[in-house]
Symmetry: C3
Subunit: 208 residues, 3 copies
């Protein structure tokens, strides 16, 4: 029980860090395209919640995560209003590294919980993995489409979707082996995070 509570509050912390990291990449991209505050908010919002929203549309789950937790869009809205001073701070190397780490944690958490939600409603195995990866990466895909770029995650860059893929399979495998949910989640997130960190550190890419 104590383990569960510890895990649960840890997952919540990771979730908040992940959302902020995803939103930050939206802020940065929107500013690079010289968007005004409406654009900055929309792009940051879609980067943070686009993946989960698409998953929920595909699975027909309602209410949507951000509809139930309106404090998240409100926080992103306030951050958008303050974007200029906020972004100046993002330019420091320490901050950039913090964002890479938080983004990797967010990727792991969003992907693995996406798989877990799909499993809950009885989806077949491969679909659970796809729903997980969609949850993890489609926020960024939509960000790039709005910013009129070919999605970064489809171009040749450090492993990203592949890490989500590995994390989701890890989770599903442990779940199939009847390992407790919280341990399976933890391992799935951990594998995705570790693989992503290694890919960034050692410059791992997929072949074209």
């Amino acid at each position: 029980m104590a383990l569960y509570l510890g895990m649960s509050s840890m997952l919540h912390t990771i979730e908040v860090a992940g959302i902020l990291a995803f939103a930050s990449s939206g802020f940065i991209e929107a500013r690079r395209k010289r968007m005004d505050v409406v654009g900055v908010f929309t792009v940051a919002f879609i980067t943070a919640f686009g993946g989960g929203t698409l998953r929920d549309l595909l699975l027909d789950r309602r209410p949507l995560f951000w509809v139930e937790n309106q404090e998240y869009p409100i926080v992103i809205f306030i951050m958008s209003l303050l974007a200029i001073p906020f972004l100046r701070r993002l330019r420091s190397t320490a901050m950039e590294n913090a964002i890479v780490v938080a983004d990797a944690l967010g990727l792991g958490l969003f992907s693995v919980t996406g798989s877990s939600l799909a499993l809950e409603v009885g989806m077949p195995m491969f679909i659970c993995v796809m729903m997980g990866v969609i949850t993890g990466i489609f926020g960024g895909v939509l960000r790039d489409i709005i910013c009129n770029e070919i999605p970064l995650v489809f171009r040749r860059s450090h492993l990203y979707a592949t890490c989500a893929f590995a994390g989701c399979w890890t989770y599903l495998l442990l779940n199939w082996l009847d390992v407790s949910e919280v341990v399976a989640l933890g391992f799935g997130v951990g594998i995705c995070f570790a693989l992503r960190m290694l890919a960034v550190r050692f410059d791992w890419k997929l072949p074209i």
Copy 2:
């Protein structure tokens, strides 16, 4: 009662004017990209109904507005077939001004009724505003994505989404003060419209 009927038929007239104005901006953009009649119809249709459709997908409302009222897509389809003579008329300054006015009315009406629909199904305050703004602006956003442009509404231009935002808050505030629905709707639409007209007239923009 007479007031209500008067308002109701006025709202219907604004709705038709708004849909035609939204569709016109789709026609113009699609023609500029040298699309054929299929492209012209699709872009005009998505500009007019994309925002409301996205809202209904997010709120899980069915049937969709244009599914229930198939005369709207049929009208846009016929207009697409006649697009070339029709567009020549759009080039006159009088027509351009009429489109700006009708677009501002449409923006107000779509946004405020979008908020009203979200309120009806019990969404929290900030989500109602977001649903209103999505209804008002996402048709244009999807138009620009299909036409391979960064959405105009996110770039630095005359206030647009901000007017929808102000109109939605006005409506929600009046609703919260227990003002009658029809008056709250009227004021919401009016504020959005007035703000938009002022922004165009006096060149108001958001800071970057």
Copy 3:
């Protein structure tokens, strides 16, 4: 009965051929943009299933086709892993012609069955045609949006959406005349296919 079984297994064969043809155009486009395996899979998958998925979201039908038949995404996934040797074979003229034929069959089948599904849930006539055309063409539209191009089907090229449009009307007309479902489907697909082949052969285009 024998006729029905014959038609049914023929339709299934056409479906598989159509999915493979649609996916192939995704492979080719993704490779042209130098995407890695994640991009190749996603673009191929969305090209093959994007239209039907959008239709099902609009009509609120669940489970989605590819969720119920996970062997389809798995096949596309495996093909993505093998994409390079596979694509070399696509470059032969014989293979290119085979893809054009399979794509035209797929377009007919997807469009007409899209209309049929919309009719089944009681949509009005024009909406049934729109749902059919969306099912047939929106996979390619989404492929082009992700690849940062103006959708090919909206630009001036050989009749494509128009063939789907004609096929859907043929099906609906025959259905309205109380012709048996299987014959109406067959004629709808046939008209779409024949028109598409003629358009490619004789260079038919829509006027701008």
